[in-house]
């Protein structure tokens, strides 16, 4: 490989811009949490099912946040089931995006600064 190729930092002219990819992932996540989640299976998950069948599901205690405004993926005060769950999903997705993205921005390497 020639040195010019390396220093030029070869980028394909036609590649998809990062912003599009970011928007794409965000839109898909919001649609999954806000709309598709309504159609998710309501059956107990693997662990719950095993706990029921082997007989230790009753050892679970009441969740400390069980009365929270978004408990069990529903929005308190919103009666429509589809809207209640979808809203909770959208809020959760945005909260996770902000918290995880913010954390990653704090942790990241900053060009030019060697000290924290």
């Amino acid at each position: 490989m020639s040195t010019t190729e390396q220093t030029e930092q070869t980028t394909d002219k036609k590649r998809v811009p990062f912003t599009w990819v970011a928007v794409g992932i965000a839109v898909v996540a919001l649609l999954l949490a806000g709309v598709v989640s309504y159609y998710a299976s309501a059956n107990p998950d693997g662990l719950e099912y095993v706990a029921e069948k082997t007989g230790f599901i009753d050892s679970a205690s009441e969740h400390g946040a069980a009365d929270g405004p978004l408990a069990d993926y529903g929005t308190k005060g919103v009666d429509d089931e589809r809207l209640s769950g979808g809203l909770a999903g959208v809020i959760g997705t945005v909260v996770v995006l902000v918290l995880a993205g913010g954390l990653a921005l704090v942790v990241r390497r900053r060009p030019g600064s060697t000290e924290e």
Partner: protein, 230 residues
């Protein structure tokens, strides 16, 4: 696989809590090497995607369902250290806001779904990528297998924890068989979702997939400034 409060006794929950704190602490240091101006927002997006996808329980038969854990997926997309952080944030939000996964079981859930799935998923993916031809096309299948294996692995860790500190008297053999059996089936879903998600990003921007960087490194050499030790 969100463990509620009360399944495990207090000493076990405290121990898993301590392990989780250490793991997240180490991940915070390690993630620094993986994250820059571009991958940091990507990490937020991957965490959001994992949260959204965890809401989608898929039926696995006999009245049971499963959902993505996402550790392997996050590790492959944004790196293993960042992957631990992404899934940990998801689990913390789920527990505190959505009452999904006990608050005293948060350490247990981080250990199972953020640490175990990332470690096992990443390890299996990397081993497969070493064995398979060095092509971008092998990344998604390798990730899918890593994701598949990570689910019964997390189930095995739960079973071990239950053996040590379970609050009910359950036969270990029964619990092991049931947990591993169901979670092997759920793992198929984990593998499929991981394959699709990794494949989709690879198709548009392979350079954004952390695990694919070693494969495309020869083609796209970028010299990074050496970092001074903290």
């Amino acid at each position: 696989m969100h463990v509620p409060d009360g399944f495990l006794d207090a000493p076990t929950s405290i121990a898993t809590g301590a392990v989780a704190v250490v793991a997240v602490g180490v991940a915070l240091r390690g993630a620094r090497r993986e994250l820059d101006d571009k991958t940091a927002p990507l990490a937020g997006l991957v965490a959001a995607f994992v949260f959204a996808t965890q809401m989608l329980n898929f039926p696995v038969g006999a009245g049971t369902s499963g959902h993505l854990m996402g550790g392997a997926l996050a590790a492959v997309l944004v790196g293993p250290w960042t992957g631990v952080l992404c899934v940990s944030v998801v689990l913390i939000v789920q527990s505190l806001l959505f009452a999904d996964g006990g608050i005293t079981a948060l350490g247990t859930n981080i250990l199972l779904m953020a640490v175990t799935t990332v470690v096992v998923g990443w390890f299996v993916t990397r081993v497969l990528m070493k064995v398979l031809p060095k092509r971008v096309g092998t990344v998604a299948p390798a990730a899918a297998v890593g994701a598949f294996v990570s689910v019964p692995a997390a189930a095995a860790v739960f079973t071990a924890l239950y053996f040590v500190g379970g609050t009910a008297d359950i036969s270990l053999a029964t619990l092991t068989t049931a947990m591993l059996g169901w979670h092997t089936v759920i793992g198929l879903g984990e593998g499929a979702i991981t394959f699709l998600a990794v494949g989709a990003i690879l198709a548009v921007r392979p350079d954004l997939v952390y695990a694919a960087r070693s494969v495309i490194a020869e083609r796209d050499l970028v010299i990074k400034p050496k970092e001074a030790a903290a």
